[in-house]
Amino acid sequence: MSNALFTAATGMRVQQQNVDNIAHNIANSSTVGFKRSRLEFQDLLYQNTRTPGAASNASTAQPVGLQIGLGARSIASQRIFIQGEFQQTENPLDMVIEGQGFFQVRLTSGELAYTRAGSFHLSSQGQIVTATGEALEPAITIPIEATAISIGTDGTVSVSVPGQANAQNVGQIQLANFANPAGLESMGRNLFKETAASGQPTAGSPDAQGLGRINQGFVEGSNVNVVEELVNMIAAQRVYETNSKVISTSDRMLGMINQVVS
């Protein structure tokens, strides 16, 4: 009979999911290369009790109808690829992408994954890898005797070797971009995976074809704005509370109906 109980329950559920998402954003407010996400809500189905424009008698039509909605649901977590703040580290293997694009890394399974977290390290073989050990693609190896590493804005990696006057070029970093970066799937560990929604990656050299420039010695901070998240959390909590009041009101009304025949 009354939908209000169930409608309010859907409202509470979306706010619960909203708070879960906010918590995830806040927890990652110091994660290098993290991109915050935002939950998007939509209204559910409507029951058409009266259709506007239906004839109310032979000559007039009802100007308005009566539609009763059945609540809300969360439809998407929209990842927001706004640039995070640059933090200077002076570490030669820290890089930021200024603009669009992703670093490509090779997973142990052989698949490619994509990341904005440009905080790289060297493996025991001198290969450039992420903090969790995935190799940068295309693979670049730094000679053990190298004394300094320099990375250009176009991704060219060169090293200084003792006894040689000129810097030695050891490779060029390639970036990938997608038609719809928001369609990428988060794998955790700062990595994203290609999906049918993101489209095929198009790889290219940095600082060309719409891809961003590489800046050495910086990392890209998380783009989470903690103050904004806290404000959203307060709003979510209040709406959650209001929805719970609908449930208690609905319960009271149903209780009164039962009293009629007591």
Binding site: N3, V64, I68, N180
Partner: protein
Amino acid sequence: MNPGLYAAYLGMRVRIRALDVMANNIANASTTGFKADRLFYRSLEAREFETERRAAQDNLASTQDAGQDTGELGAERRREETVSLRALGVVAGGMMDFAAGSLRETGRPLDIALAGDGFLAIQTPRGERYTRSGSLTLDAAGQLVTLQGDLVIGEGGPITVKSGEISIGEDGRITAGGQEMGRLKLMQFQNPGAALLKEGDALFAPTGSEPPLPATQTRVQQGMLESSNVNPVGEMAAMIQNNREFESLQRSVTLMMSMHKIASEIGKI
């Protein structure tokens, strides 16, 4: 049935409906581009009231018929009653509140808010639909779509956005990397309350009562979203009032029933 009792029943019924509508508004207090529903009450004319009553009694009769045949006499008596009664009740009508929701800044290039009465035109498998929810995204082919995956149509069909810095002008022109990609199709209605029907998923379906017109006065604001226009405080106040009215009606039903009881006891020796 006692007409007072029936009027009280109708009053309770619309207040249950009203709570359903408020519950939906509150559940959508965070839904981008959501427009609140309002319920208004109108008194039931005697003639209409009889039709409703007859429908209710026919239902009752048909359920009774299933058990036993009430016969011609029962039908005759009911018809007599409907002519003699002149009590009034209340029924509900709904309307959408198209007031603008507050704008919040997001900074995301594919978030747009519409300042003005326009709607974004969306192409769905069911036909053209309209929305105020400007949280857009791209699909794998780079076409501008809603979160549901339905194409956002421009004045020249679907809009494909090439990679590059996307900028959307106040007139809805979309440029990426300095090239124009298309222009959003913005439509409006003279009387949106009659011309549109909510379909869920933040979409409005046209009822066909009037053709959509180009929304020339609507400005597009990039990097902003229109919040739901539900005011939770107002909804709460209305909900409390609704609850109290329901309570009064319930009391009146209890009172009428006890009067019935007293009346039936008068004849007792």
